[in-house]
Amino acid sequence: MTHDDSPFLEARGLVKSFGSERVLRGVDFRIRPGERLVLLGPSGCGKTTLLNLIAGMLEADAGELLCEGSRIDAPAHGIHQPMRRRGFAMVFQDFALWPHMTVAENVAFGLKMQGLSRSERSERVRQVLTMVQMEGFADRSPSRLSGGQQQRVSIARALAVRPRLLLLDEPLSALDARLREDLKGELATLLRQSGVTSVYVTHDQSEAFTLASRIALMHEGRIEQIGTPEEVYANPASTFAATFLGVSNLLPYSRENGHFLLGDRESLTPVVLNGVGDTAPADGRLMVRREAVTIHEGRDAPSDSIVLSGICRRKDFLGDRHEAFVEVEGGVTLRGFAAPGIVEGTRVQVRFPPDAVRFLTH
């Protein structure tokens, strides 16, 4: 019954409220087998609630959740498969390693529940502990491990049972920055190699980019946009998507006779977009990523660029380059990467290629 296109997990119109607060307002998505879906969004967007719903810790108020074609949560049909029957595993933000068991006992727990023999268990435990480079710690108590080590064990415990679906709830957020960076890369390799279907919750876009095969960007209880990391970054579907991912310039515009007028109603800057905005809506926001914008002293711009002139108001050193904020006519400020020679307070040129421009209506 599984041919390539049939989804492993499918959500249809999931709704969940806590009291009067609507946390999920109708969530739809499909996950194909082997996919790594990252639920990305700011705190309070409902991503953890969605994960807990998938895990079975919570029951949906409406909508349905299907796993391999069969309903596992469907309030309209009175169906709620208990979490222990779902065959999923989870990695928790606070690790949730049982303090009264050793590392090996923690990892073996799920295998014991599956009824594996003692020898199979110890073989599997050894295997997964090696996978997460914790083979030397089998008999330690979790409380004597560092945060990073604890999270490795927690990952091993989840992978050991070979789950149908691996759920990860901000697994790196309790670690310090350096450790987070290291473990992120390892986790990405581990997930790719094991081929396990996974849903990963985070508010950190760099984790999402590294780990996801697809990103579901969540906002106020809905999935705002879903796609590969490249798609979501390159073509944000909304103002929220544009601002939450990466650094962007968002300029209000309106169109008059083929000209784009940027800025507020009172003082508008007319811009010619060299043909790109022909199908753009009559008004909305024009988006250009910061990295597409360059700021120069010179006046000889390449003819294929859009060029605005303004005053450099601020210049910051970022380590590998400079960022400058330029106020163009009409009171609009743009940010971009600057040539080293730019001086604050002087007149400069802002350039960006027309194909870097996106139009957003909401």
Binding site: R84, M90, M113
Partner: protein, 565 residues
Amino acid sequence: MTGRAGTRIPLTICVGLLGIAVAYPLGILFLQSVFPEILGGSFEGFMDAYRRIGETPEMVRLIRNSLAWAGATTGVAWIFGIPCGYLLARTDLPGKLWARLSLLVPIMTPPYIAALSYILLMQSGGFGDTLTGGLPEGLRAWFFSFWGVTLVMALSSFGYVALAVEATLSEIPRRFEDAARLLGASWHQTLRRILLPLLLPAILNSGLLVFLEALSNFGVPAVLGSRSNLPLLPAEIFYLVTSWPVDLALATSLSSLLCLFALVSLYGSRWLADAFGGGAYRPGAMSVQRLGPLWTLAGWGFIGGLFVLSSGLPYAAMILTSLAGSWGEGWPELTMAHYATLFEPGSRGFEAILTSLWLSVAAASVCVVAGSYIAYVNIRSTGWLQSALEGLATLPRVIPKIVIAVALILAWNAPWVPIDLYNTAFMLLLAYVVVYITDTLNYSNATLWGMSEHLESAAEILGAGRFTVFTRIVLPRLRPALLAAWLTTFMVCMRELVASLMLMPPGMDTTATYIFSQFEQGDISLAMAMATVTIVISTVVLALFTLRRSHGARAGARALGEVEG
């Protein structure tokens, strides 16, 4: 080396004080048990008393009875308390505040008063008979036996278990259970493999508290054990010391054995908790189980039933008896005459209340002053003297009160003691302080452990002396803890029975000895009126305490947790 400069002298003073108050009497007691003639200056008869215990079948049975009874009480308290703790911590049972209060009532009720009330309820011609028109004789026989006495003791102490279990269950993060459920564990497996091991330290610690309380309790064995043909150690030690023929050698060796059992159970339960449970974790959000209407009813039935048994019935018997005018068939006529007698200035009852009040106030004040200073010196110093201080301060937590009372009698009655403390009320004051200074130490330690030494350094660097640092910096921080300690000590002194019975000079009474002696050979109604008055005073003080600290139950549970700490 001392932790801070200049703590050597205060440390020496503290060790000296506790040495005289605690170590010296217990040392004499132990020596006396080994060398029965030591107070006469002779080393004759080495280990005679222990040999006698070993060779007398009744003594062996007595010891076995005591241990079995304390064990049975612990078991029953677990059966009552653990479900209560679970209901309070992990379910959506409505009216939890009332449920918690219902647990505090039996804890607040002195066990001997509960036992006396139960006698009034269950005895032939008692309230039980009046209510039901004759209790089944089988039930009466069962009550006045091993299990009946166990039930009364367990009812008065299962609240400790419930509160400790509730406190721990509320701290175990639900993640631990979620993780197990996700990996396929059933509810039952999660309970057995995750919750129970994590709960084990709380179960063992509260069980230890109940076990020690039962093992060393005097009141229940004295009033109920003697009527149920169940001789138990504390009561037997009491009779050996107070009734003719006095056998100090046997009393002290039984006392030493009692201490040994207490210490073994303390270290045994610690070892068990370390071996089979526990592990450190950070408290987290927990899961709450939704009870259906049927389970809600069952839960309240359980808690309510326990409340009726532990408080409702004994209180009804106590209050009715205190108001009963004349005894006859059916319901007695009600009167306030007994209370009037109690409060008549100059009467024995009134004198007893006054004596108890000033003794309790004095004892609580001395405990708070000395205890806070000892706790502070202890926590801010290191080295062997500090270890000695810590050891001495821990002793009264474990040593049964009856043993301390016997030890104090020996120590202050010895031929070489120059001052005549024995046979004055100050002897009793000393006993209260020795027995109950533990509470102040516990409360102070809880605060001091969380208090940075930098606060004191900051004052010292600005020129404050040691005394100023203690009075201006440390004491104000300790104030809430010390208030709680004062009230707790006051309440327990108001109801203290065994030391009062043994150390009270002739012709004087405390409320507890008054109740005891009136019940045994006087006016039962007067005894119960006094019991009611004692409980009312305790309740008023507790109400004050709860008003000051809104988390009364939690603070209580925490204080209980520290007893083992």
